[in-house]
């Protein structure tokens, strides 16, 4: 079997400050950051990345938390394991879509060790959390040599496995604003085999106006069908301000499928992935709408 066959220096900072200092000490080419390592270790075993320094931040328990406040919303430390997000009662209550997403993310073993921040920072276009967070209008907190900044989750992933993180920066917190009233959120991904990477995924957040008839706001995020998770804005425009019907959702699905830019690989063609987007948007829409009505 494949092991890591090259040597590296292992650094385990105790605090965030220490970690940031270490990050700035080595240039990007020679160091890598490991959190849960559920993806990174595989790449290292394949010799696809061969860092000289490995900075292990998994032990930074300061970044392992889930906090909720009716005003500020939800704050999740970047090193919180998936499983904690999945099982958190407050998340199940306030942001059940996050918990649902986690339930079908890979397998229990991965969720027990892998972190939500690591997942987002790995920036796999098929990663699930990013898609849901975009629909939830989440922001990400980044800490770096020049202090901290926040940015929209939507802008974080820029290409296949590439993020907006600057050299020396770490993703430290995920911030999810409180859901507006009358909002329903739903996420779904399609994979032939359960627990697999999705061929396509869709998250949708629908906010209805006071009388719960027209759609006052909507966010649609697509995963696995572009170099990064994307927002389907044209599809959103179709729904915004309208009374949502099945026909309208189908129209939005069509629009979203045109906004996607999937590639063909051995699992599916781009044509089929577009079809998935079309169908999933419609289906997710129905459920998000039902939730919004119940909310």
């Amino acid at each position: 079997m494949k092991n890591i066959i090259f040597d590296f220096e292992y650094l385990a900072p105790k605090t965030l400050e220490e970690a940031l200092t270490m990050l700035s000490q080595y240039n990007e080419e020679e160091r890598k950051v490991i959190a849960g390592g559920q993806s990174l270790l595989i790449l290292m075993r394949q010799k696809l990345i061969t860092p000289q320094y490995l900075i292990d931040i998994k032990g930074l328990s300061d970044l392992e938390y889930i906090k909720f406040d009716k005003k500020e919303g939800l704050k999740i430390g970047a090193l919180t394991i998936h499983r904690a997000v999945e099982l958190s009662p407050i998340i199940q209550k306030e942001f059940s879509v996050l918990s649902e997403m986690e339930q079908n993310l890979s397998n229990v073993e991965t969720r027990n060790w892998g972190t939500i921040g690591g997942d987002i920072a790995h920036a796999d276009p098929c990663g699930d959390p990013a898609v849901v967070l975009i629909a939830l209008n989440a922001r990400l907190k980044l800490n770096g040599p020049s202090g901290e900044r926040t940015m929209d989750a939507e802008d974080f992933t820029v290409d296949f496995f590439e993020t907006a993180l600057q050299p020396g920066e770490l993703l430290t917190e995920i911030q999810v604003p409180v859901l507006p009233p009358n909002t329903g959120v739903k996420f779904t991904k399609y994979n032939q085999i359960s627990g697999d990477l999705g061929l396509a995924s869709v998250a949708m957040s629908i906010t209805l106006d006071k009388d719960k008839k027209t759609c006052s706001d909507v966010r649609i995020a697509l995963g696995g069908v572009a170099p990064a998770p994307i927002r389907a804005k044209k599809a959103e425009d179709i729904l915004k301000g309208k009374k949502i019907s099945d026909a309208l959702l189908a129209e939005a699905g069509q629009a979203a499928s045109e906004e996607a830019s999937p590639t063909t690989d051995i699992q599916a063609t781009d044509e089929y992935r577009r079809e998935l987007v079309k169908v999933l948007v419609k289906r997710v829409g129905v459920e998000a709408l039902a939730r919004a009505k119940k909310a």
């Binding site: 790449l43 394949q46 990345i49 296949f160 496995f161 170099p227």
Partner: protein, 154 residues
């Protein structure tokens, strides 16, 4: 892996052809290409540096024109290897020029890229997607350059 497509240019066919054959034109359109050296008028050697997220790749390659049939058909073959024993690749590209109207040329291209080794098997979906996007980048570079040349001439 097959990359194919076509685009049209408003220029005389001979002009497009000459440009394509100009030493280094094709190579310089390859994204991430650096250190290009002409071995003779048909062959170049170079290094491509690229990144797929956290994975950095350095490819050493040789590119040769295998068939030249002016001003219509061009075949380029290349092979190379990724530094660090990550694998090898080979490619075969065919470019055909067709005059669709006066001073309007359709450029159609067909490129077969073969990756072998760890790089290729790391994740078919990622490599394919990446090669696809690089292919698109290459052709858009080529188009841009051609247009630049044209505008200069004009």
């Amino acid at each position: 892996m097959l990359i194919e497509g076509k685009f049209t240019l408003k220029a005389p066919i001979q002009e497009v052809w000459d440009f394509l054959l100009e030493p280094g034109t094709i190579v310089s359109c390859i994204p991430g290409a650096e250190k290009m050296e002409a071995v003779d008028d048909k062959t170049w050697e170079g290094i491509i540096k690229d990144k797929v997220g956290i994975i950095s790749v350095k490819l050493q390659f040789t590119q040769t024109f295998a068939e030249i049939d002016p001003p219509k058909h061009l075949k380029a073959v290349g092979r190379g290897s990724a530094l660090g024993g990550l694998g090898t690749f080979s490619q075969e590209s065919i470019v055909d020029l067709t005059e669709v109207a006066k001073d309007e040329v359709e450029v159609s291209y067909k490129s077969t890229v073969n990756l072998v080794g760890r790089l290729a098997t790391f994740g078919e979906r990622i490599m394919r997607a990446k090669v696809d996007s690089k292919g698109a980048e290459f052709t858009s570079n080529l188009q841009k350059k051609l247009m630049e040349v044209q505008s200069k001439k004009a």
